[in-house]
């Protein structure tokens, strides 16, 4: 740009950015700081925030409450991370063939195919999720088929439960994984795979050594885009899980809702956020070390 005076240009740029930055600072960065602060406060008898400052919320979350060790919350953390990992793993298994298929289509079909994969993302997640209540209903034909095939004992149902939550999450987040993965698959140098074949590598060895290293950046970016929303979900387990599928997101919602224990809810929120940011930071660090951008 024509910057006659760099200091003036810098001032202009700062002034242009200021309203937006102020807004984000006031309505996001400040609230996040406040929630960190609140996580060290106590809950009064009527649910109000009170001093003294305490680590009690974090202790309770780690399982050491006033009544001795209780594994309730550590189990919820483990369940959230496991379900997030399972969702990501299943999305990878489903996303790989889909990405390779779209990348192998004739040029004029690629964009329409990719658009078809993305369209569900633009429709409300709430709707896509509750629809699985209908699809997996005890009297629905999916349950009947599973029962007829002997996968379910009669009377057992797919919904509600952990399996239903997993199905809902994979359906909701699969496009997040496919998009960056597709970007990587599209750029694959196929001569490497051919060379591996010529050197006598089998199908799996070719994939593992000639293709996987090439699509790793896309796989990582897609995995992160899937893992983050899956771990922090509260809508999907709320609508598809039973009482046994409480995740971190549901605990936050309960504490800020019915239980009205904001300090404890804040502690859970802070920990969820920390897990996400730590994961991202580790990924960004490893990506810069390998000389790869966050999004390929």
């Amino acid at each position: 740009m024509h910057a006659r005076d760099p200091r003036q240009a810098s001032l202009r740029a700062a002034l242009l950015s200021a309203p937006g930055l102020l807004w984000v600072t006031l309505f996001l960065l400040l609230p996040l700081v406040l929630i960190v602060g609140t996580s060290f406060l106590s809950r009064g008898d009527y649910g109000q925030l009170e001093r003294p400052f305490t680590l009690e919320n974090y202790q309770r979350f780690a399982g050491f409450g006033s009544l001795g060790f209780d594994p309730l919350y550590p189990l919820i953390i483990a369940r959230s991370l496991l379900l997030g990992a399972a969702t990501t793993g299943l999305c990878v298994l489903a996303g790989l063939p889909l990405a390779f298929f779209v990348a192998g289509l004739p040029r004029r079909l690629k964009t329409p195919a990719l658009t078809l994969v993305v369209i569900p993302l633009w429709t409300n997640l709430l709707i896509r999720t509750y629809a699985w209540q209908i699809l997996l209903a005890p009297e629905g034909w999916l349950t009947r088929c599973a029962t007829a095939l002997g996968l379910l004992t009669p009377g057992q149902s797919l919904y509600p439960g952990t399996l239903a939550v997993c199905v809902g999450m994979v359906c909701d987040f699969l496009p997040f994984l496919v998009l960056p993965l597709y970007a990587s698959v599209e750029k694959i140098e196929w001569t490497l795979a051919e060379a591996a074949r010529d050197l006598g590598a089998g199908g799996w060895a070719t994939f593992r050594h000639a293709l996987l290293p090439q699509i790793r950046p896309g796989l990582m970016a897609g995995g992160i885009l899937t893992f983050i929303p899956a771990t922090g979900q509260f809508v999907v387990p709320d609508l598809l899980g039973g009482a046994k599928t409480v995740l971190l997101g549901n605990v936050i919602q309960q504490q800020f809702g019915q239980s009205h224990d904001w300090p404890f809810g804040s502690a859970v929120a802070v920990l969820s956020m920390t897990v996400v940011l730590a994961g991202l930071w580790l990924y960004a660090r490893s990506a810069t070390q390998q000389g790869e951008g966050l999004f390929p």
Partner: protein
């Protein structure tokens, strides 16, 4: 290489992808199909009817929720597009103290789980209300919240568009005697306009689809369609909720089609300029 193998594996990839396509679209289709079902309860098909759509017209709660959704979407999109465009321009133009920090900080709403953002805002509004009496929960707080998660997306889209513009165009205008303001409004801004529109469409769709942030920042009487759908589903799925959901899906699809058309138009336009 064996000639049969790639053909067989393409066939396999194709059928897996077809099944995944069914998997991705089944929930959307089932909601639309059941919105035309005569049966009030259960998951069996009992016949076709428009009744549930007609009933929505006479449902004051649904109409109020639709009105709230629209007001929230339009007002927050206008605000966020204005602020986000300025932010994108400012971050692109010249370095200033804190630019690197804020370039990262505006990504926070993109990566933080929405429930964390939602409860942080709920807490913030409650504390400010306690001190200053501001921010009673309602459409106002919801608009503030939506603008917050929309700004970064608009700024990112605008900034990407700016990075793709040829700086020589602006310089040429300046060399031909245009003032900085003239060069901006007559050269840069028209070229930036499709990017701003794309950012606005994205922001509007995000607002339309949001449930979690709205749920925690809503007040009495300011419920949106997603909130209405959630509370109804908690009581049990009914065909009128399916009808309402189908309309919301349709609205999202229309917004997406508009966005895709906008981008395609733009691509042919820039190809033409590049070829000329």
């Amino acid at each position: 290489m064996n000639r049969l193998r790639p053909k067989a594996s393409r066939w396999l990839l194709g059928s897996i992808s077809g099944l995944l396509g069914i998997f991705l679209y089944a929930p959307i289709l089932v909601v639309i199909v059941f919105s035309f079902n005569t049966a009030r309860h259960g998951t069996g098909w009992h016949g076709f009817t428009w009744h549930w759509y007609q009933a929505l017209w006479h449902n004051p709660v649904a109409l109020a929720a639709a009105r709230n959704t629209l007001i929230l979407g339009v007002v927050s999109t206008l605000l966020a597009t204005f602020l986000g465009t300025m932010l994108g321009l400012g971050l692109h133009r010249a370095p200033f103290p804190g630019r690197a920090f804020f370039s990262w900080a505006i990504l926070v709403p993109v990566v933080v789980p929405d429930i964390v953002m939602a409860v942080a805002l709920l807490l913030f509004f409650a504390l400010v209300r306690g001190w200053l009496g501001l921010f009673a929960l309602g459409l106002g707080t919801m608009i503030a919240a939506h603008v917050t998660f929309q700004i970064p997306f608009v700024a990112l889209v605008v900034r990407a568009r700016l990075a793709g513009l040829d700086p020589a165009l602006h310089e040429a205008a300046r060399d031909l005697g245009a003032s900085p303001a003239q060069a901006f409004w007559r050269i840069t801004f028209p070229l930036l306009w499709p990017g701003i529109m794309a950012g606005a469409m994205l922001a509007f769709t995000l607002s339309l689809d949001d449930f979690v942030v709205s749920f925690f920042t809503a007040g009495p009487g300011s419920g949106t369609l997603p909130i209405l759908i959630y509370s109804s589903v908690k009581r049990g799925i009914t065909p009128d909720i399916n009808a309402l959901s189908s309309l919301l899906v349709l609205a999202s699809l229309l917004a997406t089609v508009a966005l895709v058309l906008l981008e395609r138009n733009e691509a042919t336009l820039s190809n033409r300029t590049a070829n000329a």
